[in-house]
């Protein structure tokens, strides 16, 4: 495990998380959530949790994002916060 890499990804993860809940467009929020999941997946791969990383890549970054997007597609993209 390379701690520099670890640290960089951690920072990116946090940035993605904060961005996801602050962005004014729900579609962007959904996509940012996907990015967040994917970064976490990288993080876990670095930490040696390969199975978790694999699952997070498929479930978190893949299907969850699809679900979020399709839900946003059926509701609205607008939000005030």
């Amino acid at each position: 495990m390379i701690w520099q890499l670890d640290l960089i990804i951690l920072v990116l993860v946090i940035v993605c998380a904060i961005a996801a809940i602050n962005v004014k467009d729900l579609l962007s929020a959904a996509i940012l959530l996907g990015a967040y999941s994917f970064l976490l997946c990288l993080l876990w791969a670095i930490m040696g949790a390969v199975d978790v990383a694999f699952t997070e890549a498929t479930v978190g970054a893949g299907v969850s994002t699809v679900f979020c997007v399709s839900a946003v597609f059926h509701t609205t993209r607008r939000t005030t916060d």
Binding site: V50, D51, F54, T55, V59, V63, F67, S70, H74
Partner: protein, 275 residues
């Protein structure tokens, strides 16, 4: 409300930080977490189950009972989405057709004289968008590879990262990709909601049924060793095979539930025709 929320969060955060200071060193090989229980799994996985991937052996054997319910959680989610969203068939529905040669969309309000679904008149859903030939062809091209890879992930979970969950999700994702690149109606025609639902129940049933079979053979629930006489192997290999069986069940369940949830979420329960 916001202020209370912020206060709570601040309080929680401070508490968490204070107590996190008391954790053992990060990655310490001598922490209780690494010395109490886990060495058993690491050292005995081969001898007990003949599965080199400890995550798989712990997941599907030592803590196989957890995993069965994990699969059930997924099924529950599928049922829940169906139960919450699915709309019954509307009395007066509008049907959309597309005249393929001209590209004209026809809306029929009373289902009186609807044309047959044919090459000329194609039935479409309300949210039909003209499809992009490139996307459609590419995804069609990709699908077999995705599916084969998924099968590999399922089957090779004993030896490499992967297993029923990951494989199942990938399989489901392949179908979802098809649904996105084509449209829901075409996908539902290939895998109907009913079959998705029945397959997801069947997937969990394979898992739980394997366990129940072990009980019938006089051993504990999910003790795959009991299957040895049926599979014609010794008890250790029977465990390995048992894990494979349940992984297949998991993959089936996860795949179909993912499809099922997607059907309901992406159409807000309409799926263009009621139950």
């Amino acid at each position: 409300m916001k202020l209370i929320g912020k206060m709570t969060i601040l309080l929680c955060g401070i508490l968490l930080i204070v107590f996190a200071n008391k954790f053992p060193e990060f990655g310490d090989p001598h922490s209780p977490a690494s010395t109490h229980l886990s060495p058993y799994y690491i050292e005995h996985t081969m001898a007990d189950t003949a599965v080199p991937n400890m995550v798989t052996s712990v997941l599907a054997d030592y803590r196989g009972y957890d995993t069965m319910f994990e699969t059930t959680v997924i099924l529950t989610a599928g049922l829940a989405c169906f139960f919450l969203l699915r709309l019954p068939e509307e009395e007066e529905k509008e049907i959309y057709f597309r005249h393929v040669p001209t590209g004209v969309t026809i809306r029929i309000e009373e289902c009186g004289a609807a044309p047959e679904d044919s090459d000329v008149f194609q039935r479409i859903d309300a949210q039909w968008v003209p499809r992009d030939i490139i996307i459609r062809s590419t995804s069609r091209l990709l699908m077999p590879f995705i599916q084969i890879f998924a099968l590999y992930v399922v089957a090779h979970g004993h030896h490499s990262p992967g297993g029923g969950f990951q494989g199942g999700v990938i399989l489901g994702a392949a179908v979802i990709l098809f649904a996105i690149s084509h449209n829901l109606r075409t996908t539902v025609a290939k895998i109907s909601e009913t079959s998705a639902a029945i397959m997801s129940a069947a997937g969990v049933f394979i898992y739980a049924g394997t366990g129940a079979l072990c009980v019938m053979l006089g051993e504990n629930f999910l003790n795959y060793g009991a299957l040895a006489p049926l599979l014609g192997t010794d008890r250790v290999m029977a465990r390995s095979h048992g894990i494979l069986i349940v992984e297949i069940g998991v993959a089936l369940a996860v795949m179909s539930v993912m499809i099922w949830i997607y059907y309901n979420l992406s159409s807000a329960g309409k799926q263009d025709e009621g139950l």
